[in-house]
Each structure stands twice: as C-alpha cells, then as structure tokens.
C-alpha cells in the first residue's frame, strides 16, 4: 500500500512528464506547424539596427517634417 506522499511524488512526476511528452509529440506530429512559418528572422532580430537604419520611409506623405 503506497502512502500519501508517494502518491504525491507520483502525481508531481507525472505533472512534469506530461507537458514534456505532449510538447514533444506535438512537435513530432507538427500539430501547430501551420500557426508559424519558416521565414527566418530578419537581420535586425539578432543584430540591433541603429535608429536611422530602423526607420523606413512609408507610403505616407511626410506631414510633420524632420524631427
């Protein structure tokens, strides 16, 4: 007959194992793959752009002028 704390340990172990197993299975079966895409990150994601490099002229006329 297992005592209460052994059951507690079992539950704690299962609670840790279940997300790991389900997470890996989800990746294995590609369950959520459609929710992402394979586009690599832009360079700026890993190497910070300077402010003047970051800014890009859009389609909008410049109503405010230089700041």
């Amino acid at each position: 007959m297992m005592v209460w704390w052994n059951w507690t340990l079992l539950v704690a172990g299962m609670a840790i194992a279940i997300p790991i197993v389900i997470g890996e299975l989800a990746v294995w079966f590609g369950l959520f793959k459609k929710d992402a895409d394979d586009i690599p990150p832009p360079v700026a994601r890993t190497a910070a752009l300077r402010a003047e490099e970051f800014e890009k002229a859009g389609p909008e006329p410049d109503f405010r002028g230089p700041q």
């Binding site: 297992m2 209460w4 704390w5 052994n6 059951w7 507690t8 340990l9 079992l10 539950v11 704690a12 299962m14 609670a15 840790i16 279940i18 997300p19 790991i20 389900i22 997470g23 890996e24 299975l25 989800a26 990746v27 369950l31 959520f32 793959k33 459609k34 929710d35 992402a36 895409d37 586009i39 690599p40 990150p41 832009p42 700026a44 994601r45 890993t46 910070a48 752009l49 402010a51 003047e52 970051f54 800014e55 890009k56 002229a57 859009g58 389609p59 909008e60 006329p61 410049d62 109503f63 405010r64 700041q67």
Partner: protein, 521 residues
C-alpha cells in the same frame, strides 16, 4: 448638448480602455476601470479642495445611452462608438499653467471589447485548450512575416540575450506543469463532486480555459465553432483569416473613431492581452488600415479636415499580393495617414502586459512600425508587478526611433501580493494614495509627469526593475508558485488513489457482470 460637445473652455480628452483575457461582457471592463478612475478623481478632488479651502473641484459622470433597446432587456443599452460611452466632467482641477478654477476637462471614455472573438465553450475547445496548454512551451515561434508591406514593420529586438526565448519557454513549461496538476487535483475533485454527489462546484477549469484561451486565440489561424468536430466559425468579415484580425479590427476601429472625434489629446489604457491588441493597432501599417474598417468609417477619415486617409505619396509603388486582412475592393491604393491619426495621441499605458513574452517567442505577432507616426510628446508607460506572471519589464522595444514607437518606461507597482490576483488589481483603489489609479488620473488631468515619474509617483507601491523590492516580490512569486505546486501535488496524491480504487472496483464489477452474462448463456 450631445456627449461629445462641450463648452468653449473645456478640454476634451479621449480615453480608450482595452480589456485583456477573460469572459468580459460588453462594457464590463469599461465599468470596472472607469469606476476606479472616478474613485481616484473623487479622492483627488477632496485633496484639491482641502488644499485650496474651496469646493471648486467637482465631478459629473454621464453615460451615453443608446436610442434603441432590446425587447425585454434586463439592462439599459449603452452606446458604443463613434461617440464615447461615458463622459466624466472634471471642473476646477488646474491643468497646466493657463488653468483657471472654472476650467473643465471632459474625459470621453471608449471601450475596445473583443471578448466575443473568443471561441464558444465546448468539449472540443477543452481538448484543444489542454493540448495547447500542455505543449505551449514547444509551440513554434513566429519570427517574421512574408506578407506584403511586412518590410514596413520590424520584429522587436533581443537585447543581446539569446537565452530569453529559452527562459520564456521554460516558464511556459512550468505553466504546463501547473495545468497538469490542476487537472489531477481540482479537475478530478470537481468531476467527482459533480458525478457522484450531484454537487455544482465552481467551474474553475472552465474559467481557466476561457481565460487563458484568449492567448491561444491570438496565435490561431482559425476560429472554431461548436461541435465535437468543429468547423471554422470566423466572423463574416474575417472569413479565412486568423481571429486576431477581428481583435485588431476592434482596436483600429476605436482608434479611427477617437481620432475623428478631434479630442485635444487622447490615451490608450490597455490591460493584459489587450496591450498586445493595442500595440498591434498602434503599429499597424498605413497600407493594411483600410482592411480593418468599413467604408463609411474610412470615408470619415478621408473627409476629415485635414484628411486622415487618402492617396499615398506620389512615386510610391503599392505592394502586390494579399494582405491580412485583405484590402477592401473600395480601397484603391488609399492608405491611412497615421501621422495625422496619432497627432493628438499622448500616451499608451500598459499594465499586466505580456508583450515581452510575445516578443521573445512570437516577435512577428508584435512588430514595431518602421515609419514615423508619433510626436515627441507621446509616451508609453508599462506598469509591471513580479507577482503577476503575465506582466513583465519591456526590454525589446527600445531599439527604434521614438517617432516610430515610443520607448516604454517600465514602472514597478505592487498591485497585490497574491499570485494571479495581482494581475487584476492594478487600477483597484488603494489606501494610502497615491496609488496607480490616482497617478494615472493626475496624468490624464494634464500638466504633470507621466505615472511613476518625477512628481507623479505612487509612493510606497512603486519600485524599479531590479531593485530590492522587485527582487523581493519576484522571490515571493516563486515561493507562491512552489507552494501552489506542492499543495496541488498533495491534493492530487490524495485524489489519485481514490480514483484508481474506484476505477478498479468499477472494472471488477463490470467483469463480474460480463462473466455472469456469458455464464447465463
């Protein structure tokens, strides 16, 4: 006098409230948050009058009712957009150097409500939610977008710390562990109480499912309806598009309406996941804007003087291919003039904000605009509490020019010492003042520093990222999580043997009945 008109002296201030994850009914968030702001304003009026020994500071609150109502309705109907739902008239509060005792400030409160975009509760939603909740730590990242005009935005930058996504995923794994424990303990106990004793315990798991599935919704490609094998059930104007488009549509619609109302200044106060919706709305590209609005509202932007929408600058080549949302057939090559739309926008307040976590794993969901739209007096204040696991210090949104996106000013606030409760207690009035609500109200009154800065701090509740209070509160949060883990595991350890024993007895009974059945033949 209509709610949007005002005496010549009155300064008109727009407030856009955006709710977070949850099951909020229409105007529920507006009612709760405005209640806190009104309480803060009343306290402020008392202080103001006591200091000046007058009763100059006064407040009046008005609700804009709708002209139509529902047959046999249990509640009165409030109006929503283009005019504000609630107007708060504050008289006699000094605002800036030119203020007089009789000056009025009219706060026009709007709500961005998107809780109905969440999927209806069903068995399949539960299954999908648990599958997602247990595997979210391995949910694929979203680094960039290939949509047309995606070059006009840029994902947030990792601040030289490539471990951030790993750390965020580990914390999400911890969340998955808590979900599993909840299933073993509270979930099983609720099930047994209902099935064996016909009791109706609080629907804790259903509430958690509906609350947290808002986060799931933001990453989904489709919105599902009812049924064991559910079919797509997007809103009619979002068929074939992710449900987050519907959420952003609500935000952008509110921005357009507020901009057209010509407030002297306006602010966005966004809670929890609502801060992601608000941020998306503020950063959306000029080219994508028409896809979010209906033609009459777009025409209102075009007809506004000066125009807030119209043709792009000459020589600009529109991108080819479909955007998300699709551009409308009436759109031509028209674009939104974000510089004009945000001309009177003065501030974004985010509290309980998960943007840093989104930026770590799904940066393409929270891109920063690369085009200038905001003036130098537009600020972004981010209020966090380490006890609130959803909130966080924003570090990845400071690499761009402030004209593209203001840099967040992170301010720590002791919302509550109780885990999870801290997430919904930011604007709850506290004593002694000043608390966050008071500080926000002072900021909205004008002529004072932003919340948490200079003379507008929130005293004993305020701290900085990384200081002693922040570290202590972080330790408190971890200790509470560990205690919750032990309690839930202990509960599970109590319930599991009972369930196994009951299952064994039921199995033995079933086998016995089967053997009797076959023996009889």
């Amino acid at each position: 006098m209509t709610p949007n008109s005002a005496p010549a002296k009155a300064e008109r201030v727009g407030i856009v409230l955006v709710h977070g994850v949850g099951e909020q009914r229409r105007f529920e968030h507006l009612d709760g948050e405005t209640r806190s702001l009104i309480a803060a304003l009343r306290t402020e009026a008392k202080h103001w009058n006591a200091a000046s020994d007058t009763d100059n500071a006064q407040i009046t609150v008005e609700i804009a009712g709708a002209t139509d109502s529902t047959f046999l309705a249990g509640q009165d109907t409030w109006t929503r957009g283009p005019q504000a739902t609630v107007r708060i008239i504050a008289k006699g509060f000094a605002s800036g150097d030119d203020a007089t005792a009789s000056s009025e400030i009219h706060f026009h409160v709007h709500e961005v409500w998107w809780a109905d975009v969440n999927e209806p509760y069903s068995l399949s939603k539960q299954v999908r939610f648990w599958l997602w909740g247990l595997s979210i730590w391995r949910y694929p990242g979203k680094e960039a977008s290939s949509l047309p005009s995606a070059d006009l935005v840029m994902p947030p930058n990792l601040p030289g710390n490539s471990w951030l996504p790993v750390w965020t995923r580990l914390r999400l794994l911890g969340l998955g562990v808590v979900f599993a424990l909840l299933g073993f303990s509270i979930g099983t106990i609720s099930f047994l109480l209902k099935r064996l004793f016909d009791l109706d315990p609080p629907q804790l798991l259903q509430t958690i499912t509906n609350y947290v599935s808002g986060v799931k919704l933001y990453n989904q490609r489709r919105r599902f309806g009812l049924g064991l094998v559910p079919s797509d059930e997007e809103f009619l104007d979002t068929i074939g598009e992710p449900p987050r488009v519907s959420i952003r549509r609500r935000m952008i619609r509110a921005i357009a309406e507020v901009a057209c109302n010509d407030y002297d200044r306006w602010y966005v106060l966004a809670h929890s996941l609502g801060s992601v919706a608000a941020f998306n709305g503020l950063m959306e590209t000029s080219w994508a804007w028409p896809g979010y609005l209906d033609q009459p509202l777009w025409q209102k932007l075009v007809d506004h003087r000066p125009p807030m929408a119209g043709p792009p600058k000459s020589g600009w080549t529109p991108p080819t291919g479909n955007t998300v949302p699709q551009r409308p057939v009436w759109g031509g090559t028209d674009i939104a003039y974000r510089q004009r739309i945000f001309e009177c926008f003065r501030g974004l307040l985010t509290y309980g904000c998960p943007l840093e976590k989104f930026a770590a794993i799904w940066p393409a969901r929270v891109p920063i605009s690369r085009t200038r739209a905001f003036g130098p007096d537009t600020v972004w204040v981010n209020v966090f509490d380490p006890v609130d696991p959803i909130s966080g210090v924003l570090k990845q949104f400071s690499g761009q020019p402030p004209a593209c996106c203001p840099h967040p000013q992170n301010v720590g606030y002791a919302a509550s010492s109780v885990l999870l409760l801290s997430h919904i207690r930011y604007l709850t009035p506290k004593k002694p003042v000043p608390d966050l609500a008071t500080s926000v109200m002072r900021w909205l009154l004008g002529g004072i520093d932003v919340p948490g800065q200079g003379t507008n701090t929130f005293g004993r509740y305020q701290f900085k990222a990384g200081d002693r209070t922040a570290r202590l509160r972080s330790a408190l949060a971890w200790a509470t999580w560990i205690a919750a883990f032990l309690v839930l595991a202990g509960l599970g350890g109590f319930v599991l043997p009972l369930v196994l024993k009951a299952a064994a007895s039921a199995g033995a009974g079933f086998r016995h009945a089967l053997s009797n059945l076959f023996a009889a033949h």
